[in-house]
Amino acid sequence: MSNEYQRIEEFFCRNMEQIKNPIIKSFLADAQNLYLVQKAILYPTDRNMKMVDETFQSHYIRVRTIKYVSNLIYFYSLDFDKKRRRLQNRYLLIVDNGLLETDSTREGDRIGKGLLDTVENEKLFISLKKLTHKQLQILEMIYVKDCSIKVIAETLQTTPQNISNLHRKALKKLHHMLRKEEK
């Protein structure tokens, strides 16, 4: 028995460099894989060697796939946004934001409408109703009326920092409520 341990130990000592290779390391981290390898070291029959190889290959492919997909997601999202911006710059006539402040239709749509009237999502509506009046007022000014923080601070006669704080707190509260709802 101790002889077996020695042989395994010797094998690993001899290949210290390779063990440090991340792919080998992660492969051996699995107890079952380690067991297979140990078996193959002690009894290096064709079958044992082949079994290690097969599991290693599937492990290798899995790692490669994960890496590949991860990169794919990252670069694809970058490209996607680049493409979108290029198109947007090319076709300036697709009006998304309103060219002028006094843009007729969209502005007209909004007049007289509060934040609660514009919300279509039921859960969001319920959560919004639970906010304090002031928080709701600030959210409305920021998201519906497109006011700057500074302007809001002036109308409510307080400091911009305070508005910013209240805004953040309101969003946090909303986020919290919606999360709880999801669970």
Partner: protein, 63 residues
């Protein structure tokens, strides 16, 4: 056979959802849903066609 592949792909996508969500921040708010769908589509497409060749043998590492 086909079914097995699909399940694998689905698992991969599910495991990658946090990463996808994180990458959605690359684009503007309006485009995020589109991008999410596009990414998933791309993953399915790629996993169906992609094959990793020349996987090394385990014993190649040890001489």
């Amino acid at each position: 056979m086909e079914n097995k592949y699909n399940e694998e792909t689905l698992m991969i996508i599910e495991n990658f959802i946090p990463k996808i969500k994180q990458c959605l921040h690359q684009t503007s708010f309006q485009e995020r849903e589109d991008l999410e769908q596009e990414i998933k589509l791309k993953i399915i497409e790629k996993l169906a066609t992609k094959e990793f060749q020349d996987t090394p043998s385990f014993w190649d590492f040890f001489t």
